[in-house]
Amino acid sequence: MRLLSGDARRAVFAPLDDGSGRSEAVARRLGSAIALGIIVDGEQLPSESHLAALLNVSTVTLRDALADLRGRGLVDTRRGRGGGSFVRASEDALTELSLGRLREIGSTELRELGDIRAAVGGTAARLAADRATASEIARLREILDRLAAVDEGTRQRRIESRYYIDVAAAAQSVRLTLQEIELQAELGQLLWGTPRTAAELATTIASHRQVVDAIESRDGALARQLTETHIGEVTARLIDVHLDLTRRGQQRPGADTAVLPHAAAGAGS
């Protein structure tokens, strides 16, 4: 069993600091890690008691969270020798999970997330225009080429996350890079709920390419502006989805609550 390798993985298994100890928070954390590929398909999770201790939640809470993930088809539990909880990376289940999160989160929280993303991503783009070397710029282009070449939505999201993180690294700022990694992890809980059409993806990639062009022509103001505008659009879209889910929430049939018990209860109240 592979455990705790890399900062992102450490973050996945770090104690939950919101103090609520809610099983939804545990499920969301693990779901996001599966979405981002930090925990991989088929990987065995630590034992219940170990995982509960790592996350600083009771074993009862953890069992609820695992039951939730099992219900969603993201975790498989086998009994007996060689048994345990194993991860199943199912794209549909991830979409359901982030729809639940989008329903539960408030629109002001989404706006706040957009604000901080614009601050970090916009500044990173501006500084990258001042500081990125030719090879760093070539790397950004390579990432966008890869983004255009892959079909699967989950992989597209991960590659796009790497684009934002690499812009921050090209800005020569460790702090901005770490902030961007954190923001992308948070975003990972939400974005899977809003699949993109091919045309939307093409628009996104074109917008990122314009940013890289601005970085290459050393136009920091433009690089920042383009980045902020794009993040503003993504945020508006997330808020629209959230508002839509909330308005429809009370009319939805019981089937939905069976899949997303906690999120639906939260949104309905």
Partner: protein, 260 residues
């Protein structure tokens, strides 16, 4: 001679009387080469340890595996915790596929400011993860592999790895023509700057060190910041007007001296 400083907050200095004193540049060159050689000395010792481990595996008649690498730890930690060691991280990174039981492997140890003992660097080696540490594509791995020579990379943000702002010094490890990986060491940019500035002492001029990608490695003045770009006029030669430039052979950095 003209310089372009995207990060600069004031224009390039006006004319001065006569060329600047070249001695600080020569002095800086000596100091930088001293520090770089010292780090490479340790890196060479790390390389020799990997070569010995590889030889031992071959004598057993087996392919190298994980435990041959982990057996190097004692030696690595001795080097890293040596009294005069400049590097804060050290180790070997194996060529993909070298180890029979692990496709990718970093045996990298780091001194942490708040810890007594070095800590092993753990990175995400799953290619599909958002946090994948794609070392086989990193300059510090690719260049020594391609050229067969030692290499200094940086300043750069070691994203998904140590998350430090670094200079990384690596050498290729080759046995009978087979590329086994690289041995290397990390020196934080800030630490390198402190070491060099201490040796240089007080100067009446500004000294800026620029890497081959036009990135400032260190500077004696806030007018040029480490990590920013300083694009030097290629036609200006090594001695033009009020600015004096000398080129180092290895690492191929330039030292720019201008009136303070």
């Amino acid at each position: 001679m003209s310089t372009r400083r995207p990060d600069a907050t004031r224009p390039v200095d006006g004319p001065v009387d006569g060329p600047v004193d070249g001695r600080p540049a020569a002095q800086a060159a000596t100091v930088i080469e001293g520090v770089v050689e010292q780090v490479f000395h340790s890196v060479t010792a790390v390389r020799d340890t990997l070569l010995a481990a590889h030889r031992a595996a071959r004598e057993r008649g087996e392919p190298m595996c994980d435990r041959d690498i982990t057996a190097m730890r004692g030696r690595l930690l001795d080097l890293l915790t040596g009294e005069r060691e400049v590097a804060v991280g050290m180790g070997v990174i194996t060529a993909p596929g070298l180890l029979a039981d692990r496709p990718l492997h970093l045996e990298w140890w780091q001194s942490e400011p708040d810890r007594h003992h070095p800590v092993r660097l753990e990175v995400d080696l799953n290619p599909h993860s958002v946090g994948f540490y794609d070392y086989a594509a990193a300059e510090w791995f690719v260049v020594p592999r391609r050229t067969g020579r030692r290499h200094v990379v940086g300043p750069y943000v070691d994203v998904h790895g140590t998350h430090r702002y670094l200079l990384t010094l690596t050498v290729p490890v080759v046995a009978d023509g087979e590329f086994l990986g690289v041995a290397g060491a990390d020196v934080p940019v800030a630490r390198f700057e402190t070491l060099v500035l201490r040796e240089l002492g007080n100067l009446a001029v500004d000294v800026v060190v620029v890497n081959p990608e036009d990135r400032v490695v260190l500077s004696t003045s806030a007018r040029s910041l480490a990590g920013s770009l300083m694009i030097l006029d290629a036609d200006a030669g090594d001695d033009a007007g009020e600015v004096r430039i000398i080129s180092l052979p290895d690492p191929p950095w330039r030292i720019v001296v201008s009136p303070g």
